[in-house]
């Protein structure tokens, strides 16, 4: 069954027809071709599909598209500047070598963006806890930690 929803995706208001069984992840990837958001498990275990819903980090694979009605959704594509410029956090992921295969990266960037929004001065432990819903098998998390810490440092010293 299809249902019409109204929501904002990466700053653009839109009206969409979605299947009532469809996940927000499928809506983003298949209907809007926003394929930056990845699927690593489909059941809320890995965080590869993380997006911001009204500013909260959520796994879009276990969030129904119909629930997005009236919501403000931001995916990885919405965190990049309109001119393609990187956010300071994205730049630090690049500079610190926090990217390997890159499959977990959009989810981490989304989660860490929200984390720094809520807590501009996170300790190492707070970063670890705050990002523990995102799995990465390549990096051992070290350089992701470095990237988030550096971003917080730079913002503090600005």
């Amino acid at each position: 069954m299809l249902k019409t929803i109204n929501c904002t995706v990466n700053g653009r208001a839109m009206e969409l027809q979605v299947d009532v069984r469809e996940s927000l992840l499928d809506m983003l990837r298949n209907r809007l071709h926003l394929t930056g958001t990845k699927q690593g498990c489909g059941v809320g275990e890995c965080g590869a599909c993380a997006v911001l819903i009204d500013g909260e980090t959520l796994d879009s694979c276990i969030y129904l598209a119909v629930w997005a009605d009236g919501k403000d959704i931001v995916s990885i594509e919405g965190l990049t500047g309109a001119d393609g410029s990187l956010s300071d956090l994205q730049q630090n992921f690049v500079d610190k070598g926090a990217v390997q295969c890159g499959f977990c990266t959009p989810g981490f960037v989304v989660s860490a963006t929200a984390l720094l929004e809520k807590n501009p001065n996170p300790s190492k432990d707070e970063i670890r806890r705050g990002l523990s819903g995102n799995l990465c098998r390549c990096t051992g998390y070290q350089k992701i930690l470095d990237a988030v810490e550096s971003t917080a440092d730079q913002r503090r010293n600005k």
Binding site: Q39, G40, V43, E45, L86, G97, L131, L135, R137, Q142
Partner: protein, 769 residues
């Protein structure tokens, strides 16, 4: 030699695409009229499909076709990502069918549905009715080898292979020993958990050939195996690999590719995609071999090894995949690290009804390293000889041939690694502090552990090693790089680009890499495995770069005017300019020269180099893990206080990427040592924890700060003095952690993963070390 780009932490060329979500992985590429495939999996663990009724499944709206074993070629094929063997004696075992009537593990692939949506395919797959004939099943080698066990593969007695390698005479060796130590240990089945699941789609192309787009580490091998699976000329297939979300060996095997091609063939060449669920990847792609060891060694009273006898039994699961190669590698790795005058290494690989074990980062070396390094720890405790000293007494010597790997070891740097590690880690200070606290009664106890390893670079001389590279000088002086080696996240393309830039004399940014490996375009190379690419493929890249540079300088000479000619020996390329060597004067830019080579009316040509290079060398990297843990005796919980890996991988091409490789490997080693194990239900043979919630791969909170150091001893055979690095980092953390835990507790814990449960059990039994 002075380097301008090699040895620098240049930014990986694809990082920006990845942080913005613009990097396209297999599932991100739009396809018109895409159909979806789902596998119908057996609901028993061992037996035969007697009957299959697909009538109800066919009624599900959106279902297009259902394939059963009758609808696919009756051809058995191998799946391992090994090079083809011209000698049939060494060919991989061909024991796979695209779909099977013989069920060899729970979830075996017995039918497949093609439908307009994934959901329809999934529903239909669940409606296929199957009648089985059931046999007894075996989850361990012991069970599979018992008298009268049903054969999982006919005529095998459930033994895939058994081999023996010998040096000297062990009886004499043990007679010469002043004392003998024995131990046993076992390692678990674990899974790769690369974040991108197996995904592939196939279609018939405009030239009537079959294209398979897939997340694979081995595009060229995959094409060959497709040819074998369909009994068709290999050139009828084309394999394309886009960006890939990790592999760690799980994608060094052909899994869903023959099936997606068969599906597309069944629907007239329309594109069909199979995107496995995480549960399927865990349960039914590939896993790491669980290997159990019996180790016996004789020593002189000074701690020098006189003899060693190792017996290894490897659980290969239900299909051969990489098979015996993995446990067999342990023999040569043992003699790569320790000098053993009298040695026997017996290895047996056994079929069971668990997931097929294949390649996984380390390829058998994490297992043998666990056995050896926990053993050496025991010897150190029993004799009182310091851990490092005991190992140093027994290390192999430089420039001697490894008697089992048949390659000379040009370096042996563990002494340097130990010294650097102890210094950075402050091992002696930590030792003192722990010893001081030893007698204070507390539930929290600390301990130190270490473990060393040796590895290889590529697979020569076990299998042939070939690398391919094509370089094209563009009109503006930039250079297009094409390799058959596979970028899977490790940064290989970035490192190859550095090699090209450094060798030719241009800025790194002038080299153009790309994410795709397409067997129609990419030079032949067997792909990402055996930590071979910077070493083996790097040799081809270097050769091509040297050749192209020669051609460029020749062109510079040819195009310069008579009278103005600088002798060719005095020409060089620096920072993208053609210069005169003796005074550094810039003669022209590489771009200006390139333009002439393209467009001069009478002479010149587009300059290219196309190299295919057989590598007939190997080099041994080494390293050590040092770690400090704290164990809570009440709960058995282990906290890793610090952990350091020191590596000798020769010259490091890109320090940032290299430390990233090491950290990732260390975290995997940590999971291996403390938490990860794929478990099976004894009653049904079903995997119990084939998901990311119940299977304990390390999360952000499980991994402490990871410390990395390199001992950069340039290797005489590596193309730029480099040796392998990708797999080594996960070889030594698990034994180092286990050694630290028993140092803390003073009791014996045998097997990994050393979970809190095992610690509590060991404590309650007060097991002696």
């Amino acid at each position: 030699m002075e380097h301008k780009v090699i040895g620098k932490s240049v930014e990986r060329w694809d990082a920006i695409a990845k942080v913005t979500g613009r990097a396209n992985y297999t599932g991100d590429i739009p396809q018109k009229e895409l159909l979806y495939g789902k596998i119908c999996r057996a609901k028993i663990t061992h037996g035969k499909v007697k009957n299959m009724d697909i009538s109800e499944a066919l009624k599900v709206p959106g279902v297009i076709k259902i394939l059963t074993p009758d609808d696919v070629p009756e051809i058995s094929f191998p799946t391992a990502g090994h090079p083809y063997s011209l000698d049939p004696k060494f060919a991989d075992i061909a024991d796979r069918r695209i779909l099977t009537r013989n069920v060899r593990l729970y979830g075996d692939e017995i039918a497949a549905v093609i439908a307009e949506s994934e959901l329809a395919a999934e529903i239909a797959a669940s409606k296929i009715k199957v009648e089985y004939e059931e046999y007894e099943f075996y989850l361990s080698p012991e069970e599979a080898l018992k008298e009268g066990a049903v054969e999982i593969h006919e005529g095998t007695k459930n033994i895939l292979a058994a081999t023996k390698a010998e040096i000297g005479d062990i009886d004499t060796g043990f007679k010469e020993a002043d004392f003998i130590v024995e131990d046993v240990c076992a390692t678990p089945i674990i899974q790769h958990c690369q974040m991108e699941n197996q995904i592939a789609y196939a279609y018939k192309d405009v030239d009537n050939r079959w294209v398979c787009v897939t997340s694979t580490q081995i595009p060229h091998i995959c094409r060959r195996i497709l040819g074998q699976a369909f009994g068709m000329p290999w050139g009828r297939f084309r394999v394309i690999k886009p960006f890939i979300g990790g592999g760690f060996g799980n994608k060094q095997d052909v899994t869903i590719e023959p099936l997606v091609v068969a599906m597309s063939m069944a629907v007239g060449g329309k594109p069909v995609m199979v995107d496995l669920h995480r549960e399927e990847v865990f349960g039914w792609t590939r896993v790491r071999h669980a290997i159990s060891y019996k180790v016996k060694m004789g020593f002189t009273k000074d701690g020098v090894i006189t003899a060693a006898d190792i017996e290894a039994t490897s659980n290969n699961g239900a299909y051969a995949s990489h098979g015996h190669a993995i446990v067999a590698k342990g023999g040569g790795i043992t003699t790569a690290i320790y000098k053993i005058p009298n040695f026997r290494y017996r290895a047996k690989t056994v079929y069971t009804n668990t997931a097929a074990a294949g390649a996984m980062r380390g390829y058998g070396v994490p297992q043998i390293t666990y056995a050896l390094e926990t053993f050496m720890n025991k010897v150190s405790i029993q004799t009182g000889i310091d851990q490092f000293e005991l190992r140093e007494k027994n290390l192999t010597k430089v420039n001697e041939e490894n008697p089992l790997l048949h390659m000379v070891q040009h370096t042996m740097s563990l002494r340097e690694c130990f010294a650097k590690g102890k210094e950075i880690f402050k091992w002696d200070d930590k030792r003192k502090s722990i010893d001081k606290d030893k007698n204070t009664a507390s539930d929290y106890v600390r301990g130190l552990g270490m473990a060393a390893f040796a590895y290889t670079s590529g697979a020569y001389p076990k299998t042939m090693e070939i690398g391919g590279c094509r370089l094209i000088l563009n009109q503006d002086g930039s250079i297009k790089l094409m390799v058959g080696a596979t970028e899977i996240g490790q940064g290989a393309d970035t490192v190859f680009s550095q090699m090209v830039a450094d060798t030719i004399g241009i800025p790194f940014e002038w080299v153009i890499a790309d994410a795709y490996t397409d067997t129609d375009i990419a030079p032949f190379d067997t792909g990402a495995y055996a930590s071979r690419q910077t070493f083996v493929s790097g040799m081809a890249v270097k050769k091509a770069a040297v050749e192209l540079k020669e051609k460029i300088l020749q062109a510079a000479y040819d195009f310069s005017k008579i009278g103005n000619k600088v002798p060719i020996e005095d020409l060089d390329i620096v920072d993208g300019n053609i210069i005169q060597k003796h005074n550094g004067q810039i003669l022209e830019t590489l771009g200006d020269l390139a333009l002439k080579t393209y467009y001069d009316l009478h002479s010149g040509s587009c300059l290219t180099a196309d190299v295919s290079n057989k590598c007939t060398k190997n080099a041994y990297p080494y390293g050590v893990t040092l770690t400090e843990v704290e164990v809570d005796k009440k709960t058995g919980k282990v906290e890793v206080l610090s952990i350091l890996n020191v590596h000798d991988s020769g010259k490091i091409i890109n320090p940032l990427l290299a430390s990233g490789q090491v950290e990732g490997g260390m975290a995997q080693g940590l999971g291996y040592g403390l938490a990860e194990e794929l478990k099976y239900d004894e009653k049904t043979g079903k995997p119990l924890n084939n998901n990311l919630l119940d299977y304990k791969m390390p999360t952000f909170m499980d991994v402490p700060d990871l410390d990395v150091a390199f001992v950069e001893i340039e290797d005489p055979v590596g193309p730029y003095g480099n040796k392998s690095l990708g797999e080594p980092p996960l070889c030594s953390p698990a034994p180092a952690l286990r050694n630290a835990i028993i140092d803390a507790l003073g009791i014996y814990v045998k097997d990994i993963p050393v979970t809190p449960q095992k610690i509590i059990e060991a404590l309650s039994e007060n097991r002696e070390v």
